[in-house]
């Protein structure tokens, strides 16, 4: 099966669950409102160097692309638990690529179909609550490739999580842990630009910051268009490293499973 077919199949599946999608959007909108209300209250006491409008924009972009970060493939997790994954691993296709395509389709569709209506709604909110337009046109144009690199990065991360779960055979523990690391360190729970300055210097270099934080900062203009090449370099570095790590883990797992006889 070609990767393209896998991709198309998942796309169609995502489109079927329209009800869940509407529920998801409303839920995400609600969470976004709560967070912005909280930051607005905090800002009333002590305004920060990052303007509140940027924080609101940050929150909306995070919420809109939330689905991109969440571990998406329950079917796969079930396969690992029941041991059915060993059949897949013994297929003559490159399974890393197979699942990479599958996960990417799921994330791309899941998040785009939610992001577009959400961002439109978020743009209609009153000032100080709404998502702002990009700081500049170049900023926006540079934001798109950064987002794509972020997607490549998160898919590689999820494949590593899956490789881990194949070793421990316990999806929930490992996934919970890695998911949480992701939510915290990618700025979903608290925008990374509200972390202490000294922490930010380190955190922004982590792979998790490449997913959404880096693209969002290009969007809001916190990273200047001139910095874009440096940002891309960090992102590409992580994409390469994470894919390499994932591929080696998968092939190690495959060898182990073939030795064990499935």
């Amino acid at each position: 099966m070609s990767y393209f077919t896998v991709f198309k199949m998942r796309l169609r599946m995502e489109l079927q669950y329209r009800g869940a999608m509407i529920g998801g959007i409303l839920c995400q909108m609600f969470f976004g409102m709560i967070l912005i209300a909280l930051y607005r209250a905090l800002y009333e006491g002590k305004p920060q160097s990052v303007p509140i409008e940027n924080i609101a924009t940050y929150v909306w972009l995070q919420q809109a692309f939330f689905r991109m970060m969440l571990a998406s493939d329950n079917e796969l997790v079930d396969k690992i638990r029941t041991g059915d994954i060993s059949y897949d691993l013994c297929r003559p296709v490159n399974m890393y690529g197979f699942y990479y395509a599958r996960i990417m389709a799921q994330k791309l569709m899941g998040s785009l179909m939610r992001a577009v209506p959400m961002l439109i709604m978020a743009a209609l909110l009153p000032r100080g609550w709404r998502i702002n337009f990009p700081a500049s046109l170049p900023g926006f144009l540079l934001f798109i490739p950064a987002l794509v690199l972020g997607l490549l990065c998160v898919c590689a991360l999820e494949n590593i999580t899956i490789a881990f779960t194949m070793i421990t055979l316990d999806p929930r523990g490992m996934q919970g842990l890695l998911n949480l690391l992701m939510l915290t360190l990618s700025g979903n729970i608290l925008p990374l630009n509200l972390f202490p300055e000294s922490w930010q210097k380190v955190i922004t270099l982590f792979p998790y910051a490449q997913l959404l934080d880096a693209p969002i900062r290009l969007y809001t203009g916190e990273y200047l268009p001139a910095d874009a090449m440096r940002i891309y370099a960090v992102q590409i570095f992580w994409v390469v490293v994470l894919i390499a790590l994932g591929v080696s883990m998968w092939s190690a797992n495959r060898k182990r499973m073939i030795v064990q006889g499935g």
């Binding site: 409102m33 209300a37 905090l42 002590k46 421990t168 929930r172 729970i189």
Partner: protein, 266 residues
């Protein structure tokens, strides 16, 4: 009393079976620890950067966070049947086996689930509660302890009641997880901070529909000697009872819904 004994015995048995998978259990409990620790860290980071929140100093914020965390995860610990397992009980037909036994369905659902991994979350919440209490310099007395216990118990009933919305939806086989999450997990996220920092619509939502403000914020503020909206002392005792009211209403709705239950499978 008889029901309580049955519950204790069932939960004891479930705990035993959870602990059969020791390494998995430890792993998941640790994951939970990191998760709730992360939430706590966010509050600490916020306090570090902003110092206070509309008149509430950081120490008070830890106290609110602890109250919410303890209530929420105690509910998940003891009420897993409702907070997590119910939709799958409907899907797999397990609900059928409850219906053919001479006990209340809700009782059996609650007897059928526990989530011991949450123990670490409860620990984090308790730590936050103690930390907040110390830093806020609360002078504890019997009355305050009573209000604290009442507040946590009533918040637990409220949270159970909110999760029962999802249960009712799944009886009608409507998938609603994400919508219900907005009110449950959303309620937890929002109401771990004092309610009066929010704009009026959010306040109304969490006072009238999902009254965390009444079960949690009113008594907690009274314990901190900063009564919410300057309300008199008796409100700290009476208002939390709204949690029991929500639970009672949802129990009624739940049983009405069961009349329309269409058991799936052949």
């Amino acid at each position: 009393m008889d029901i309580f004994r049955l519950y204790i015995k069932s939960i004891g048995m479930l705990l035993k079976s959870h602990l059969q998978y020791t390494s998995s259990f430890i792993m998941q409990a640790l994951a939970q620890l990191v998760m709730e620790g992360g939430e706590m860290m966010v509050v600490i980071l916020i306090v570090d950067r902003f110092e206070g929140l509309k008149g509430w100093p950081g120490s008070n914020l830890y106290f609110f966070f602890g109250m919410m965390s303890v209530s929420f995860y105690l509910t998940e610990f003891f009420g897993r049947g409702i907070t997590g397992n119910f939709p799958s009980m409907v899907r797999t037909g397990r609900l059928d086996t409850f219906l053919v036994r001479p006990r209340g369905v809700l009782t059996q659902v609650l007897c059928a689930g526990t989530d011991p991994r949450r123990i670490t979350c409860i620990a984090v919440g308790t730590a936050a509660l103690i930390m907040g209490s110390r830093l806020s310099g609360i002078s504890w007395n019997l009355l305050k302890v009573l209000v604290l216990v009442e507040s946590i118990a009533m918040s637990m009933l409220l949270i159970l009641g909110l999760f029962m919305i999802e249960a009712v939806f799944s009886i009608f086989s409507v998938k609603s997880v994400e919508l219900v999450n907005a009110i449950t997990y959303g309620g937890r996220s929002a109401c771990q901070y004092p309610i009066d920092i929010y704009p009026v619509p959010l306040r109304a939502l969490f006072t009238v529909i999902a009254p965390f403000a009444l079960t949690l914020h009113v008594p907690a503020s009274w314990i901190l000697d900063k009564p919410l909206y300057g309300w008199p002392m008796w409100t700290a005792f009476v208002m939390p009872l709204s949690g029991a009211a929500v639970f009672a209403i949802m129990t009624g709705v739940f049983h009405l819904a069961l009349r329309h239950y269409r058991s799936t499978g052949s």
